[in-house]
Amino acid sequence: MSKTPVTFRLNGEDAAAFADAGSNLLDFLRRSVGDLSPKYGCGQGTCGACTVLIDGEPHLACITLAETVSGREVRTTGGLANGPTLDRLQEAFIDKFAAQCGYCTPGMLMAATALLDKNPNPSRQDVIDAIGGNICRCTGYEPIVDAILEASRNTRGAA
């Protein structure tokens, strides 16, 4: 099986690893790079648990070819916190009880990050639209929406 070297930026740092031919970005990040924060939920681009940011845009890692991130900037939930200081979104998720099993949370945080980067003052409907591609099977959507709105109002730890 042929392997392709992929060099890219991951959460602000240079990263490089070999991608199996045809492997998707989710497997590549998790198994080859070692960033376990994106999660496998469906493998077919419907649940949003693997959401990562590529050059600031939310993408579904499970249906993105690994080689396509070559030379680009990838952000994951693993890089949200600044050392021990959590991101305002992470703080808001904690304060608002916006996680139950926690499996969809990394994808939710990435979708929310993309939203707040573009629209610092979203309406409730903007937030709902932004996480419309992310499934929370514990059905805890209301606290998640509340947390994202709270983070948009809170500059504490803002990037």
């Binding site: 099986m1 199996d20 045809g22 998790r30 198994r31 070692g34 376990l36 924060s37 994106p38 999660k39 496998y40 939920g41 469906c42 493998g43 077919q44 419907t46 649940c47 648990a49 994951t76 939930t77 693993g78 949200l80 916190a81 959590l86 979104l89 992470q90 998720f93 904690i94 304060d95 009880f97 996680a99 139950q100 099993c101 926690g102 499996y103 969809c104 949370t105 990394p106 945080l109 499934i135 929370c136 099977r137 514990c138």
Partner: protein, 629 residues
């Protein structure tokens, strides 16, 4: 009756201030969740991790004639094939660890498959893709068998046998009976004097738990001759026990790590991944991951069981529900898993949160060629509650009453006797209804708003519970001691009534099959109940523990009447037509009549000879509830 707190428990740790209620709390595991560091089972990296995919049946019901895996074996990346013969003890049932039910499910099917997606062969490969390619290259010669997907069709005599361990397509309760029974009071008499009889049929679909994290496990050889297994299980000790049993290795060699579950909702108790992953790790000496993809999770993952309910209520003009009779069918799918337990849990929940002095239920755990069903969020309760609450609305409409007020009127109050013979306490349905009505701006009468769970319980009509009418084969209550009780047809005088509210200790008390309602059920399913022919006494030797006669090669001769002389007539409560109201409306039951004294005008004669499941001529496998194997 005041609210009861068990203050003796954790007395030195209790505060009882309740000032934490309504206060936001920080989850102890949430920092891991928001940083992506919570250790789900798949978040453990191993070099050289192997992957498993299974060859699965595309048919509802099929026999495996042969499997040709020669092409798959030689394919690139394929490390090992796991055949049913590789599993040391390839038969299990989930609750066998607590001694409930018989082993009925192979880890990998070796003779036949009974649902779409049942695995017959596992392939271990260096990548998921290699395993998938190998699976696609396996040729299975299927002999497609007739299948049954409906619970009531599965109970007909010519239905295919889904699960060979339970050839009647029903779980054997108490090792003998094909359904779980509840009897309380005298529902037939109460129905006869009710002003209205309200009937309804309700169907719940199976529901997939669909956790975002699919089920899976990673197993790897560890030092000390142990196997470490990271698993998504909700039930770690089920998983250890099942793995140890199927693989015949002591649990001391199994180092299982769980606890972080990406959503389970009941679907992660079935313990199918750990045994295969551990076996693959043992056979290959390498770390192995067996994780379902989304399609497998949805197709092969066990859902909540579908349920069908028939409810028959006797209601007075003032809204008082005086009788409620249930017939329920739980769709277990092809194997038992946890459905048998769900049925018992359900029986303990009937008749819902309402004080009804006459309750009866027969609930069947039925095998069909659907995906086996298992636990899901309140299973055994949620489905019947849907049926009950729909039915309450129907009753309210019939008697012209506000639906919430109907519920308040009939709700349990502290001190009421429940159908399973425990006093109700800490009741709050009335108060809940009042709050719901207020929040919904739904006007209730001043009388309904004045009601309270704390007053009136166990008084007046609420205490007027008739003696429980028992079967002609014995009484209801505890399971028989000392093996089988005297022959139920011997007329030894064990029929009668049990005083209400008593969990009797009488040695004759037994959980005997109730014949007449079973006969009604058989008649409803299309069997003819001949009322004209003379009855034939049942031979005294026919007992469920007598070894069955060898099955006849030809169809058995026409059935002889199975019911004994002296059996009661078909009770009107279970017949299709509503019973005629009796002239009396006295709240108490008519005095007990010795039912055994009645002649038997209705010998049972099926129209067709039975094709299967019956070892003795003339005996319907579901007419008596007795296990016939």
């Amino acid at each position: 009756m005041a609210i009861e707190f068990r203050k003796d428990l954790f007395a030195d740790e209790r505060d009882d201030s309740f000032d934490q209620i309504g206060q936001p709390r920080i989850r102890q595991d949430i920092e891991g969740h928001v940083t992506g560091r919570s250790p789900f089972f798949d978040d453990h990296l191993f070099d050289g991790l192997l992957h498993v995919r299974c060859v699965r049946s595309p048919h509802h019901h099929a026999r495996v004639r042969s499997i040709d895996a020669s092409e798959a074996e030689g394919m690139e990346g394929v490390v090992r094939l796991i055949w049913p013969r590789d599993i040391p003890r390839n038969m299990n049932t989930l609750l066998s660890l607590i001694g409930f039910g018989r082993d009925d499910e192979p880890l990998l099917a070796d003779r036949k498959t009974a649902y779409v997606g049942e695995p017959v062969l596992a392939i271990v490969a260096t990548s998921v893709q290699a395993a998938q390619r190998a699976v696609a290259a396996v040729r299975v010669d299927w002999e497609v068998l007739p299948h049954v997907l409906d619970v009531e069709e599965a109970l007909t005599p010519d239905a295919p046998v889904v699960n060979e361990e339970y050839p009647n397509n029903t779980f054997d309760y108490h090792e003998r009976y094909d359904h779980q029974k509840l009897r309380f009071g005298d529902p037939e008499a109460a129905l006869a004097r009710a002003d209205h009889v309200v009937e309804g049929t309700y169907q719940m679909s199976p529901i997939e738990q669909a956790p975002v994290e699919t089920c899976g496990a990673i197993a790897a050889p560890e030092t000390n001759n142990r196997i470490v297994c990271y698993t998504s299980t909700q039930a770690l000790f089920f998983s250890i026990g099942v793995t140890g049993k199927l693989l015949e290795i002591p649990s001391s060699r199994l180092h299982f790590i769980g606890g972080t579950v990406g959503g389970g909702f009941g679907g992660k108790v079935d313990s199918h991944h750990e045994p295969i992953a551990v076996l693959a790790a043992l056979l290959t000496g390498k770390p192995v991951k067996y994780m379902w993809d989304r399609a497998e999770e949805m197709q092969a993952g066990a859902p909540r069981s579908g349920e069908r309910w028939r409810i028959k209520d006797g209601v007075m003009n003032d809204g008082r529900i005086v009788a409620r009779i249930f017939t329920g069918f739980f769709d277990a799918g092809a194997y038992t898993r946890l459905t048998s337990y769900g049925v018992q849990k359900c029986t303990g929940h009937l008749p819902g949160p309402y004080t009804i002095p006459n309750v009866a239920s027969n609930i069947f755990c039925v095998y069909t060629n659907r995906t086996p069903s298992t636990a899901m969020r309140g299973f055994g309760i949620t489905g019947v509650d849907f049926a009950i609450e729909c039915h309450m609305d129907k009753v309210a409409e019939r008697v012209g009453m506000d639906p919430i007020e109907l519920r308040i009127f009939n709700a349990y109050r502290d001190g009421d006797m429940k159908a399973h013979r425990r006093l109700a306490k800490n009741c709050a349905l009335i108060e809940s209804c009042q709050v719901v009505a207020q929040k919904a701006d739904w006007r209730l009468s001043a009388d309904a708003m004045a009601q309270s769970s704390l007053t009136g319980g166990g008084a007046d009509w609420r205490a007027d519970i008739p003696e429980t009418v028992t079967d002609d084969e014995g009484k209801i209550g505890e399971r028989r001691r000392n093996g089988l009780a005297p022959d139920p047809f011997s007329g030894s005088g064990q029929r009668g009534r049990v005083a209400a509210g008593i969990f009797t200790d009488h040695p004759a008390t037994g959980n005997a099959p109730q014949r007449d309602d079973m006969i009604a059920e058989a008649a409803r399913l299309g069997f003819k109940v001949d009322t004209g022919a003379p009855s034939t006494p049942m031979p005294q030797t026919e007992r469920p523990d007598v070894p069955p006669a060898p099955p006849a090669a030809a169809p058995p001769p026409p059935a002889e009447p199975q019911r004994p002389q002296g059996a009661p007539t078909l009770p009107s409560a279970y017949s299709e037509a509503p019973p005629a109201p009796a002239p009396t409306s006295a709240p108490s039951a008519p005095p007990p009549t010795p039912r055994s004294a009645e002649p038997d005008p209705e010998p049972y004669r099926p129209e067709q000879p039975f094709q299967r499941g019956v070892k003795r001529p003339g005996v319907s496998r579901f007419i008596s509830g007795a296990r016939r194997r």
